[in-house]
Symmetry: C2
Subunit: 209 residues, 2 copies
Amino acid sequence: MNLTERQKQIIEIVKENEPISGDRIAKYFGLNRATLRSDLAVLTMIGILDARTKVGYFYTGQDVNPLVFDQLFAIKVKELMVPPILVEQTLSVYDAITNLYLYDVNSLYVKNEENLLIGVISQKDLLRFSIGNANAEQTPVAMIMTRMPNIITVTPETTLLEAGNLLMQHQIDSLPVIDLKNKQSVVGKLTKTHVMNHFIYAGNDSNHI
Amino acid sequence: MNLTERQKQIIEIVKENEPISGDRIAKYFGLNRATLRSDLAVLTMIGILDARTKVGYFYTGQDVNPLVFDQLFAIKVKELMVPPILVEQTLSVYDAITNLYLYDVNSLYVKNEENLLIGVISQKDLLRFSIGNANAEQTPVAMIMTRMPNIITVTPETTLLEAGNLLMQHQIDSLPVIDLKNKQSVVGKLTKTHVMNHFIYAGNDSNHI
């Protein structure tokens, strides 16, 4: 939803003159009130203005950033993804755990010699192995990782809503972002945290002041 | 943003008769077009209807669930929290890990004899301990848990936006929900997953069909 210039001007007029009647607002534009009726209805409906009978219009304090489906959900993965941490399949489970703390991440992606994605290791995979297994230093991550084609991936062009649905349905914490053409080439990583933070930032931006 | 009955009826009329002129819509109500101008402006602006010059109004396929700040962000924690998994402080690290898999959770809350919250154990705490420590069966969780007052908590009345900001700022996965009066009594748990899923459900509901 994009406000027109006139609607933005109405907001400014109400901010400085509240409470102000529709007639008086119309005079600022040299128009009659009927002409502004739609604009006032829209601004009242989306909650930027408040109308009180026989008093006039008030500014509610909500800023002009209404929530927009496109900005919240249709945004592409490429806008939010981060560079992936890629490790070799020969890396030991012990070193994989060290890497989790080093890079402060919850999962690692495993590549082969051609830099193609062959596996994913989650914190939970590592914990499951390390409990009751003393030889984390001798075991390569290739032994315990989830392998292609059992890895759920997205592309940079996937929408946030689609990606969020995949995270939700498959109960996973992260999605490798793969190249549109070369399906095993990892170009990014999108986690549940990125998705949540995106919504919280939007909420902070459109918050009532 | 709540649609009026007349706005909902307009949507139904357009759905069945598109493309349809404003004049023809007005006839359904026995009104003139000017009276409906605000309603049509609102419906067009929020994207439910599309207006094409000299053709008429179309239904865009977006359902009547526009995004509303209050529903998305002002919703209370009590609407989304789940029952917490509480364990004794004498539980072994080994059994704590078993509990993570048993209950399919990423963290456990630790209570004392009076059922009051005294600690939180995350998957990462358990992984850090289990790597290089063989005696997970002999070590109580009390040894490795994060203790009060270093635990970030919310109440059932905290808004989702506030809770999301806490999860984001403190880089944690879960928030114990404590009783408003008895500050150490845990009544629920809110995780990053609950917060993300809430937004994805909302996106699916208000999605363009």
